[in-house]
């Protein structure tokens, strides 16, 4: 099952502005790109051009990318009050 199919069952209140800022220029020099595999929601994708793209709408607010990015490309915060993932079972 793909990332998209996994998160499809979740409830979200997506804010139009991303709560995480990724400096994708820094990703160009990154050889390992652990975010592509480790972000459990698949928010980080590799584009055909080889660039990394970040999409915030499926974010589970776990904080993994904040910790594993060694290049300091991730400026992490929680979504605006009341927005983001809405766990109904937890």
């Amino acid at each position: 099952m793909s990332f998209d199919e996994k998160v499809r069952v979740n409830a979200y209140l997506v804010h139009p502005t991303p709560h995480i800022e990724v400096d994708t220029a820094k990703c160009r020099t990154c050889k390992t790109r652990p975010c592509l595999r480790l972000c459990p929601a698949g928010c980080y994708r590799e584009l055909p051009s080889g660039e990394v793209a970040f999409y915030h709408d499926a974010c589970l607010e776990c904080g993994t990318c904040r910790i594993i990015c060694t290049l300091g490309a991730v400026r992490w915060s929680y979504p605006e009050a009341g927005f983001g993932i809405w766990y109904r079972f937890g």
């Binding site: 099952m1 793909s2 990332f3 199919e5 996994k6 998160v7 069952v9 979740n10 209140l13 390992t32 652990p34 595999r37 480790l38 459990p40 929601a41 698949g42 589970l60 607010e61 776990c62 904080g63 993994t64 904040r66 910790i67 594993i68 992490w76 915060s77 929680y78 605006e80 009050a81 009341g82 983001g84 993932i85 809405w86 766990y87 109904r88 079972f89 937890g90």
Partner: protein, 426 residues
């Protein structure tokens, strides 16, 4: 706008709400600020709350908690290797394995308790900063509101954004945490009882190690709740570089095991979530006027298969609440850190929390050793398979044991030395 409360609590999860419940009950004006739309909407865990410490400090509440889910009466440890699984199962009607419940249900229940006691819970309220004046925390900033309080209780969770911002704790490093990813399946309770051979109020907990996580440090789990089943995987991020899969792949492969396949077959998938959990003791940040509890305070114990998160979050919240209440009643002024610590220790002594944290500090490195998840698992599975399976001639116990140990580079002597070197400290 400037507001004044006796206590302001950051975060309406198990720790923050337990503190708010205790403080409001004692008559203190307590404000809880929760960034989610409802209490519990940002909370996630594996699926089980251990009960022994909660029973000791809050016997009246623990009866209600049992009603929220299923009492664990059966535990299974699954060692997986080469498509074979060796299961160790223990079952007893008076087994003290805690309660399997949905965390959202638990947190909503606790929020109701706190509100009945008089706590003010504001949701969709994200705290931006903790105010520090001199060496004392004096309140918080939340949007355009400044909230003053005698005591700030930080229960913001494992991602300690506010404490980091205030320069009170170092940044988390990959070695400090594990990433837990889980799915929830909705299943008809009668079906659950039939398939897993359970009663109306009994449940089970299952843990799988080895091949299911590519022999990396961590494991997979299953908790059987009233009408939901929680399934997931936990990976120590210290070895993230060697993790070659994605979490959807890990879960989908897990569902090929018969025990897990049942769940997918009879259940409807309703949620997919993730969180970080500390696997090393986190340094605690405290100062005059600032108390940290739950994951933010490092009150989580992760020793091998036993993860005590929610129960110790709750216990740290209740004991912090009791300590603050006692000091505010007695001293009639905001308590100092030293007096808080001694009062907190007095209340928490009734439970195993501090003893467990001390043990955690001594032994956490041993559980990071990959040997446990690869070599030992492979050896045990191979040994039992070789010994019990009849392929040709019957093999003797000694011969099989010797061969399996050699195959995986283990020896009796080596194991004994290993034990003396490391494990006796436990």
């Amino acid at each position: 706008m400037s507001l004044k409360f006796d206590i302001v609590v950051i975060g309406g999860g198990p720790a923050g709400l337990a503190a708010a419940y205790e403080l409001s009950r004692r008559g203190f004006k307590t404000l809880v600020l929760e960034r989610g739309r409802r209490p519990g909407s940002k909370n996630l865990y594996g699926g089980r709350i251990y009960m022994s410490s909660i029973e000791k400090i809050c016997p009246e509440l623990s009866k209600e908690i049992y009603k929220l889910g299923r009492r664990v009466v059966r535990e299974v440890i699954m060692l997986t290797h080469g498509g074979t699984s060796l299961n160790i199962e223990i079952e007893s009607n008076d087994w003290r394995g805690g309660v399997v419940t949905s965390l959202t249900r638990f947190v909503e229940w606790l929020a109701q308790k706190a509100e009945e006691a008089g706590a003010c819970i504001v949701t969709s309220a994200k705290v931006d900063a903790i105010h520090v004046h001199g060496n004392r925390a004096s309140g918080v900033r939340c949007g355009t509101d400044n909230i003053l309080a005698d005591v700030v209780v930080d229960a913001e969770g494992v991602n300690r954004i506010l404490l980091e911002k205030a320069g009170l704790v170092p940044r988390l490093s990959p070695g400090d945490v594990a990433l837990g990813v889980k799915e929830v399946y909705r299943v008809d309770p009668r079906e659950i009882e039939k398939i897993f051979d359970l009663e109306e109020d009994t449940g089970l907990a299952l843990l799988a190690l080895g091949e299911v996580l590519d022999y990396l440090t961590g494991g997979c789990f299953m908790y059987v709740d009233k009408s939901h089943i929680h399934v997931g995987a936990v990976l120590y991020l210290s070895n993230y570089a060697r993790f070659r899969r994605t979490f959807p792949e890990v879960l989908d492969r897990l569902y090929r095991l018969p025990m897990f396949r049942k769940v997918v077959k009879i259940g409807e998938r309703v949620e997919y979530g993730a969180r970080l959990l500390p696997v090393r003791p986190l340094p605690r940040a405290e100062m005059d006027g600032l108390v940290t509890i739950g994951d933010a305070g490092g009150y989580l114990v992760h020793i091998g298969p036993i993860i005590r998160g929610v129960d110790y979050a709750f216990v740290s919240g209740i004991c912090a609440g009791r300590a603050i209440a006692e000091l505010l009643e007695k001293e009639r002024r905001p308590p100092s850190l030293a007096s808080f610590r001694s009062a907190f220790n007095k209340y928490v002594r009734e439970t195993s929390l501090m003893r467990d944290i001390e043990l955690f500090k001594r032994v956490y490195t041993y559980y990071e050793a990959e040997d446990i998840y690869s070599r030992y698992v492979k050896f045990l599975v191979d040994f039992f398979r070789e010994y019990l399976e009849v392929k040709n001639g019957v093999k003797s116990l000694n011969e099989t044991l010797y061969m399996s140990m050699r195959k995986h580079g283990l020896s009796i002597w080596g194991l004994a030395m290993e034990y003396l070197r490391k494990f006796r400290k436990m």
